[in-house]
Subunit: 385 residues, 2 copies
């Protein structure tokens, strides 16, 4: 076959291959730094808030006070769900995974709320709608599966506080809301990870942002991507006590298995987000089961870093996040959905940036197979088998 | 920043970059050949049928008679929708685009029908469920938006004939069913195109096949991917008469605009599928508006190939497909969904193959931006603006 496919480079999983030029975020995996639009994620988590970070990611600059107030108002105005989405949430079984529910709801939103169609409405308006409604969908599903009426969103509260309010039906303590806001900032953006990449591939066919974010949610759901934090908690509970850590690691390592919550394709030292989450966990955790989990986690970190640190294996963002989420009263099967709620800001930023100077993704596969089978011959053979 | 990102290769849209090793299909873009598992797509369209081609794509070999009968029976058994999906279809407005409906329905199926969870059910069983239910979803939505009760699937009919039966409420002529079956074969698989790639990226996080196919549907929807056939018909109707073709092309070319239905990233000669679709169109079309459209299309092809053929611009798979679909009584906004109905076979094949020796997609972006902004400083500046 006169073709050049075999001459193109092949890198499995596109490790280290650049697929876009971007000014949204940067990871320095050796130094353990994560930068959003020039700012370190630690500074943003300390001083900024989630809405401001979303504005920064989308517009490339910090908002003025007026812009921030305006942006927050727009977000707050978009929080309510139409009756179709509320009915959809009640249709889905209580046993559904929140990520499956979220993927389906955002897809349905594409039918009900899409405005960006070349008639004057911008991509940012659709992005605001999706970002604002994700928390409402999640809280409404939590209410529906517990046979409670949903708590309606409050326009008085910020994004983070409003979610906790809808989820628990009461105003969160200010300190708790602040921690949750910082968590959303830490998870808002992470360069070209798998879910962001999926969103970009979908958007590159000039499909709509609802389709692109639906792809991202389905991708984040995978247990080796966003699904890891759920698994970490299960692992910590399985270990049960710091005294069991050594044996646990021996067993995993001799079986050649990964230890959940450690290692990252790009970070080869401490993930800066893990550092912040660890100190949050230490500050928040007061009693069991959180205290026990934290003890196990600290011991696990100590032993893993001692043994594998020189290979670049350190706690990643998922390692301490579950402990913190649990302390905030977030159900375990919601962990990945919280990740999605935050990362939606980054997904939308990449969709906007990539489609600005778009090129459809159309890679190749290297073909290893026959090229000259004849149907009637092979069919006759298959018949005789 | 001590980082190596700038040293990795960057190819926009991953043109020519291999992302997988595959034995599913091969495109020889210079010779105009498309091979599924060793067989040319023209031979398959002529002699095989869609179910057999799906089996071939998934299992890598033609089925024995027993295997084909068994596979067809399994597919037919999975066609019905549960009441939740039927209710969902009635919730969505009649004005919804069928691709948005399909994306939402397949996502919801992930909640309702998923069985592959490590407990003995295979990925192929979930793939069968999705492949079988897509036609039922589309026909049920067509019924719902026209205030008709849905036509229930018939287990007596093959995949292609059953869809036309559900869509129109009457048995299709054998010749028509045969043409539609061949169309599904032609669209079943096309190596690592954007939608297949999106499905593969999603599956690479070990997310489920419903998530992966939901991503593919949202990606295929884009007007520069699967959405093109709809646009071709609009263009042919806009031109209206073969006499207007020259002027139309002059205007488009001098404005530097693309002519819909021509050119392909890989085929640099006649797309073999376009050749088959063209002869189908010639055979089927009897009266207006089809006849007029075909006349315009033939003239358009003549002039475009004359002018741009040496640059490798030829009719692609979308150019004649719309004319054929219209003759089969398929509504214009269903064209891309028909593509999805067929391509689902290829998507599932790639999901199965890639995850067999999986590696998560985690490319990079080349960062072009600041790395050292300080929040409090910049915030103070933003305040003064």
């Amino acid at each position: 076959m006169g073709d050049t496919t075999k001459q193109v480079p092949f890198v499995k999983g596109l490790e280290g291959v650049a697929v876009a030029i971007s000014s949204i975020s940067h990871i320095d995996g050796k130094a353990g730094r994560l930068i959003y639009r020039g700012f370190s994620v630690e500074e943003l988590a300390q001083y900024s808030n989630f809405e401001e970070v979303a504005f920064l990611l989308w517009h490339g600059k910090l908002p003025t006070d007026f812009e921030l107030t305006d942006f927050k108002r727009k977000l707050a105005r978009e929080r309510s769900l139409s009756s179709e989405i509320s009915q959809l949430l009640r249709l889905l079984p209580a046993s559904s995974h929140p990520m499956d529910v979220l993927r389906t709801a955002v897809s349905a939103m594409g039918v009900l709320y899409r405005r960006c169609d070349g008639s004057g409405f911008s991509l940012i308006e659709d992005a605001i709608s999706i970002l604002s409604k994700i928390p409402t969908v999640l809280a409404a599903f939590e209410a529906a599966r517990n046979n409670r009426p949903p708590v309606l969103p409050s326009a008085e509260l910020d994004h983070a506080a409003n979610f906790l309010y809808m989820l628990h039906g009461k105003l969160p303590e200010e300190k708790v809301a602040r921690v949750f806001d910082a968590i959303l900032i830490l998870h808002a953006e992470q360069e070209m990870n798998a879910s962001t990449f999926a969103a970009t591939v979908t958007a590159s066919t000039l499909s709509d942002i609802f389709s692109a974010i639906t792809s991202a949610i389905g991708t984040l759901k995978g247990p080796i991507h966003g699904g890891a934090s759920e698994r970490v908690i299960e692992m910590l509970d399985e270990i049960g006590d710091p005294a069991n850590v050594e044996t646990f690691i021996e067993e995993k390592m001799s079986a050649g298995k990964r230890i959940m919550g450690f290692g990252h394709r790009i970070y080869k030292t401490y993930d800066p987000r893990a550092v912040v989450l660890k100190s949050m966990a230490k500050e928040l955790v007061k009693s069991d089961p959180g205290r026990k989990r934290l003890e196990v986690a600290l011991k696990l970190e100590e032993v893993v870093v001692e043994r594998l640190g020189e290979k670049g294996i350190y706690p990643n963002v998922d390692f301490y996040s579950g402990i913190v989420y649990s302390e905030l009263g977030i159900p375990k099967d919601f962990f990945t959905a919280i990740f999605a709620m935050a990362r939606c800001a980054g997904w939308a930023a990449h969709i906007m940036e990539y489609t600005e100077s778009n090129r459809i993704f159309r890679p190749r596969a290297i073909y290893e197979g026959s090229t000259d089978l004849r149907y009637l011959e092979e069919k006759a053979k298959a018949r005789c088998e």
